[in-house]
């Protein structure tokens, strides 16, 4: 049947045409097109990767900032705490100093009082001695008159002394 019997002429021309088209297109079309498509694909891929990297970097930067902020906060807290401690210490020291000073004053006062007391006592002793001497002198003077009078006089002086 004619329909399914191939003709040599058409076979030859098809072969020539197809192979010619194949080689021309391979050289001038498919090569450049495929190159361009691959280039574009890799460009797009690179861009996406770059964008992703930028995003990651941003995240890193943010994390770094957060970390720094956190550190600053901790530092601040620490400083405040230290300051508080120092202040307290100073106050305590001052208190201690003050109380020490006060104690010292009290001590000094006590010493002064003691000294005064000693002095007063010494004076009292001197007075007593003087009085004793005066009494003894008066007694000595009365002894010479009579015994009863002497006794009454002593009694008198003694009562006088009690009043003092």
């Amino acid at each position: 049947m004619e329909l399914v019997s191939p003709g040599i002429g058409l076979i030859l021309w098809t072969l020539i045409t197809f192979i010619l088209v194949l080689f021309l297109l391979k050289k001038f079309a498919w090569g450049p097109i495929m190159d361009a498509l691959t280039k574009r694909e890799s460009f797009i891929e690179d861009s996406i990767k770059a964008a992703e990297n930028a995003k990651k970097e941003m995240a890193n930067l943010k994390a770094e900032n957060d970390r720094l902020l956190e550190e600053a906060k901790v530092e601040r807290d620490r400083i405040i705490k230290e300051a508080n401690v120092a202040a307290k210490q100073i106050v305590e020291e001052a208190n201690a100093e003050a109380s020490k000073e006060a104690q010292k004053r009290v001590e000094e006062a006590r010493i002064a009082i003691n000294i005064e007391k000693q002095a007063a006592l010494a004076e009292v002793k001197t007075q007593v001695a003087n009085l004793s001497v005066q009494i003894a002198e008066k007694l000595m003077r009365h002894q010479l008159s009579n015994d009863a009078a002497q006794k009454a006089l002593v009694q008198d002086y003694i009562s006088e002394l009690k009043v003092n």
């Binding site: 021309w13 194949l22 001038f28």
Partner: protein, 360 residues
Amino acid sequence: MKTIEKEISFPKQFKIRVFALLMLLVFAGQASAAEGEGDHGFSAGDMILHHIADAHEWHFFDGHYGTLFLPVIIYSGDRGVEVFSSSRFYDDHHELVPYNGYVLDHGHIARIDGTAITDLSITKNVAAMFLSAFLMLIIFISIANRYKKKTMGAPKGIQSFLEPVIMFVRDEIAIPNIGPKYARFLPFLLTLFFFIWINNLLGLLPGAANVTGNISVTLVLALLVFILTVFNGTKTYWGHIFNTPGVPWWLKTVLPIMPIVEFIGIFTKPFSLMVRLFANITAGHIIILSLFSLIFIFESVAIGPVSVAFATFMYFLELFVALLQAYIFTLLAAMYFGGAVEEHHHDEHHVDPKVEQAQI
């Protein structure tokens, strides 16, 4: 009336006039024995076969300028190469006449004395193929230049239409079926796909040649697939054929059915490619032509709208088939290449059932 006027608008009218001429040609050669009388009989079979067959002239419409006479190139042992126009076979009344010892009989040139000749003429199919090849070169080289100039630019115009198709051939046909060695076959597959597609589409134009519906053309395409498959076959590929894994030993030695079946398979695969494309495209043309023939068979204008309605539907179907057949041919070629270059062993069959179904 309106509808009839509408349907005999330019392309249809054109077609009908072609038919009218063909009718004249046909009944001249017909013995009109079937009709039993000397009536103007119309043989749809003859008309259709004439229409889908190759020719030495390209007939567009009736009249003096309606036919493009193509060059005839003949080689014969005793007379060497002879080149002349096919118009020499026609006289002033468009009747066939012998020329220089040659006659044109039913589209075939023969020597009157019966000497064997080789007909290498630029026939209608060859001319149409040149045209489509030229179109392909213009389209793809021009878009390639744009790719070169603006590699990173967004595709524009026809480039944006073809880029997804090119990507489809690469990403959906070549890479999944061939694997890492796809780049070697990609130019061939792309050329094959677009060659078949463009020729299928051009073949649908009224008055155009039926290039991909010609067995010689599909034979060459299948032959190239066959050659590329065989010459790229790896050890694994030939091992699969002559020492098929997973087959009992006695089926390979005592009763060598498997090697024989596999060996025949090397040839039947491209043969099926050849027949599938040829048959699908030719069948489409025959259906459309048959629908138009109904008008002439019934000799009634009333049948016209019906024929046109069906033919329009068929045209849309054929537009789809044009792409589908290009896809199937390329896909199967890619699968055969994939089988040929495969390195590692696969025990299962290469063709998956989905594609097997598509082959039908």
